[in-house]
């Protein structure tokens, strides 16, 4: 599943990706905090919409991101034990 930056701020869609809570190849459960972005005086946690293995991180910490940018891909067929 593709993880994209949702529209969280009407004023300005730009944000900075500040922190990944998981690394590539790690298992993420649905609803867990996946990534933190900062926008417009706010730090915002984005939760994983599904369970699976964080297969690919597409944006690095510190990168400027916009609404609908692809942040990561999660393999829903991946298991906790690989």
């Amino acid at each position: 599943m593709e993880i994209k930056l949702p529209g969280i701020s009407g004023r300005n869609g730009d944000a900075i990706l500040t922190s990944w809570y998981f690394s590539e190849s790690e298992f993420v459960s649905e609803g867990e905090n996946l990534v933190e972005v900062v926008t417009d005086k706010a730090a915002f946690d984005i939760q994983s919409p599904c369970s699976g293995v964080l297969e690919r991180i597409c944006k690095k910490e510190g990168e400027k991101i916009s609404v609908n940018d692809l942040l990561a891909e999660i393999n829903e067929n991946g298991s906790r034990n690989g």
Binding site: I8, S9, G10, R11, N12, I16, T18, N33, E36, V38, T39, D40, K41, A42, A43, F44, D45, Q47
Partner: protein
């Protein structure tokens, strides 16, 4: 709406309380809640504090004032007794406008109107925060988890403002900071201001989120 006045507490203690209320709100165990507090002197660094967050570290070190990271948006700021901290724990995801900028607009409006009620002419401008006569009097830095807010606003009421001259508040190097005491020439009553702030917050929330979930707010 429930209002919890923590009194004057260590910054970290207030963060722990916010996390507790935030998690309770996420789990639906409590309604929207306001936390107000004052903090012992401390400099906090928001999530985007960087090299542009100029701080005269030696000045704060000499005074024994810690410089610590904070899990909110924004850059650096200073807290001390006499400054009112407003930490709303609000489920904006349950309301029609799931929009962080809109929420911050609302927060700034509430602070400006509350200051107006104690005789301080304050306004929102094109820059974040709340301003009075071109000087910054309140600072914004929030965090949101599962659309529940925490952190919030700090408002200079009776605190000294000299420390702000030893840093670039919010990373801004071209601003002057003020306080209600400096503007009014006397010290407004802190408890009265906190009560006004809570009252104004509730009124403005109905205005900003009218028809968008205000039935979830417990009044009284």
């Amino acid at each position: 709406m429930d209002v919890n006045d923590l009194g004057t507490v260590d910054y970290r203690e207030a963060v722990d309380v916010q996390h507790f209320f935030r998690d309770q709100r996420i789990e639906g165990k409590i309604e929207d809640t306001l936390i107000v507090a004052e903090h012992y002197p401390v400099v906090t660094l928001g999530r985007t504090s960087g090299e542009d967050s100029i701080i005269d570290a030696a000045y704060f070190e000499d005074l024994g004032i810690e410089i610590i990271p904070a899990g909110r948006g924004g850059k650096n700021t200073y807290h001390a007794p006499g400054q009112v901290l407003l930490y709303p724990v609000i489920d904006i995801g349950a309301k029609k406008r799931k929009d962080i900028s809109y929420y911050i607009d609302f927060l700034e409006t509430t602070v400006a109107r509350s200051l107006g009620r104690i005789g301080v002419a304050a306004e929102r401008t094109g820059r974040r925060g709340v301003w009075s006569g071109g000087r910054k009097i309140a600072f914004i830095g929030i965090a949101v988890r599962k659309w529940v807010t925490f952190h919030g606003a700090s408002i200079n009421i009776n605190n000294g403002i000299e420390a702000f001259g030893h840093m670039a508040p919010c990373g801004e190097t071209d601003i002057t900071v003020t306080s209600a005491k400096e503007i009014l020439g006397y010290e407004p009553d802190m408890n009265e201001f906190k009560a006004i702030l809570a009252d104004q917050f509730e009124m403005d929330m109905k205005e900003y989120y009218r028809g968008a979930g205000e039935e979830k707010i417990k009044v009284g």
